[in-house]
């Protein structure tokens, strides 16, 4: 990283949460740096660090200020110093941790905004689906709600402004696009993105031993399924 770069930079959020900012844009290499730094800090298992979570362009570190405070320095200064060795020498190239395939039933009742979205994008519904399933995505971060993935990799041809009126209730499993982003709703939530399809998979189950289907850094692809396949898969999951 050039000397003039303002990143990485450590900032306070609260008395017990800081973020390491590695950039200011949504970008695969910036997010890769966040993933690498988060993994390093997690593996170091530092005393007085409770939680580490990557976001698009930053890494959140939750810590116990009392365990970092010293007679001559405050806790934030101490943990900032301790984190510095983890922040540099990040090689480029970002292989996904693993690849997860998400079956999606596009359009119709499963994706009520697909037809309108295709029209706005001046393409057919089939072209829209082909572009969405043809791309390689990356789980940049999970946030907003448990198991909610923010994905990198939406083809530029599929980018359109968010809905003017956000919906108060977006059904669980909805696959949506908005701006440069695409995501999957793990549970019923409010949302302003365009709903283009639905997956029968459960992205978050608080009672399961591994509650979250996805993790930051995962590679992801969508696969189109028919409404009949959707129903079969959903019944299998409920049974």
């Amino acid at each position: 990283m050039p000397v003039s770069s303002p990143y990485p930079r450590i900032e306070r959020v609260s008395e017990s949460l800081l973020i390491v900012r590695v950039g200011a844009i949504i970008d695969l290499q910036v997010n890769h740096a966040a993933q690498v730094i988060a993994q390093r800090i997690l593996r170091a298992d530092l005393r007085g660090v409770n939680d580490v979570a990557p976001a698009y362009a930053s890494v959140a570190v939750r810590y116990q200020p009392r365990l970092w405070m010293g007679p001559r320095h405050d806790a934030f200064a101490a943990i900032s110093d301790a984190l510095k060795p983890f922040l540099f020498d990040i090689t480029t190239g970002a292989e996904p941790r693993r690849l997860v395939e998400i079956p999606v039933c596009y359009g119709g009742a499963h994706g009520v905004d697909l037809a309108a979205a295709a029209e706005t994008l001046r393409m057919t519904v089939a072209e829209c689906i082909a572009l969405h399933v043809g791309a390689d995505y990356r789980v940049a971060m999970l946030g907003f709600a448990p198991g909610f993935p923010y994905l990198l990799g939406l083809p530029p041809q599929l980018q359109l402004p968010r809905r003017a009126q956000p919906r108060l209730r977006v059904p669980a499993g909805s696959v949506a696009i908005g701006g440069a982003q695409t995501g999957i709703y793990p549970c019923e939530l409010p949302g302003g993105w365009h709903l283009i399809g639905c997956t029968p998979l459960r992205l978050f189950d608080s009672a399961a031993p591994q509650p979250c289907l996805l993790a930051p850094g995962d590679g992801l692809r969508f696969r189109a399924i028919t409404p009949a396949q959707f129903d079969v898969a959903q019944r299998a999951l409920i049974a």
């Binding site: 306070r12 990557p54 009392r66 946030g143 448990p146 923010y150 608080s206």
Partner: protein, 323 residues
């Protein structure tokens, strides 16, 4: 051995010290809104700091005890009765099997805590019993529900027959403030992006807690705050106490059930020492903010935690001497 919910109250939830190490899956800590009050309720009945207890909101539940228990109430001064006997707050109380505890309104404040010796044997999700309604984890108490209580040793002062309590209590004045003073806030990373009018309005004017405020966040109505120019932000971590500015201009202070990340400008952070005080405010209350710097906020929090630890050690001695 259990506790029956006869009426659930306005919003009663099981809370402990919250979930840790789950933010990378989008799961936030949740936990009590007024954390010292929960910790002290647990300490008063001899529980560990992380034991599960009940957070009650504005109007408490009606509960029937199916065995003898030691309980303690802290936080907002709530009207608590067994038959016609008014129960004191901030001290352990021996309740007999068959008793019905009627928790009614709070004279002031918004949240009381009810701890039971042994702790609630509640379901745990991802290492914590804390309900997080916003995240779809657990649910509020409902009528007819049975809460399991772990068995705890009976202190000697309980051998007296009937409803009883020791002749001492914690001094609530340190942990519940009835009068309204300004909340201390640290400027957030985007404070400088506020225009000059907004910067002075944040410290110079009052904000009212909106009716749609809840455990996720308090929406504040007052001066409309504006940025000097729009910011293009990408989602990143937020915390309990983070004051965000959505496009409408009404700031939102995130509370215990906040999501892990947010994409709005972070204009300020309520000092952690003042979060219990904010948690006790109700919709319709007016708030004022006062600037402090981040080092001061950290120092105040550490001092508060040390004071709480010392008090709990002292309380442990007191309880041991009585049993």
């Amino acid at each position: 051995m259990s506790l029956r919910v006869i009426k659930p109250g306005l919003l009663s939830t099981v809370q402990d010290s919250g979930r840790t190490a789950q933010a990378r899956f989008g799961v936030a800590p949740s936990g009590a809104m007024d954390r010292p009050a929960l910790r002290l309720a647990n300490a008063l009945v001899g529980n560990t700091a992380n034991a599960a207890a009940l957070e009650l909101t504005v109007l408490g539940p009606v509960l029937r005890f199916e065995r003898d228990c030691v309980v303690a109430l802290t936080g907002a001064p709530i009207d608590a009765r067994i038959d016609t006997t008014l129960l004191p707050l901030w001290r352990p109380v021996h309740v007999l099997a068959g008793a019905t505890l009627k928790l009614a309104g709070m004279r002031q404040g918004a949240r009381s805590y009810l701890a039971i010796a042994g702790g609630l044997r509640a379901q745990h999700w991802l290492g914590s019993a804390s309900v997080d309604l916003n995240a779809g984890i657990g649910r509020a108490l409902h009528a007819g529900e049975l809460l399991e209580i772990a068995v705890a040793p009976k202190p000697q002062w309980m051998e007296k027959p009937g409803l009883s309590w020791p002749n001492w209590s914690l001094a609530p004045a340190h942990w519940f403030e009835a009068h309204q003073r300004p909340l201390r806030v640290v400027p957030g990373v985007h404070f400088d992006a506020l225009d000059a009018a907004a910067q002075s309005a944040l410290y110079g004017s009052s904000f009212r807690i909106a009716a749609d405020s809840n455990r996720v966040g308090f929406r504040l109505q007052g001066a409309t705050l504006e940025l000097s120019k729009p910011l293009e932000l990408v989602s990143e971590a937020v915390d309990f106490g983070t004051m965000q500015l959505p496009p409408g201009g009404d700031p939102i202070v995130l509370m215990a059930e906040h999501p892990t990340t947010g994409g709005y400008p972070r204009i300020a952070q309520v000092a952690a020492v003042d979060l219990p005080y904010l948690a006790q405010r109700r919709p319709g209350d007016d708030l004022y903010f006062e600037h402090i710097d981040a080092q001061q906020a950290e120092h105040l929090l550490i001092r508060q935690e040390q004071a709480l630890d010392e008090l709990i050690v002292e309380l442990g001695r007191r309880l041991a001497a009585q049993s």
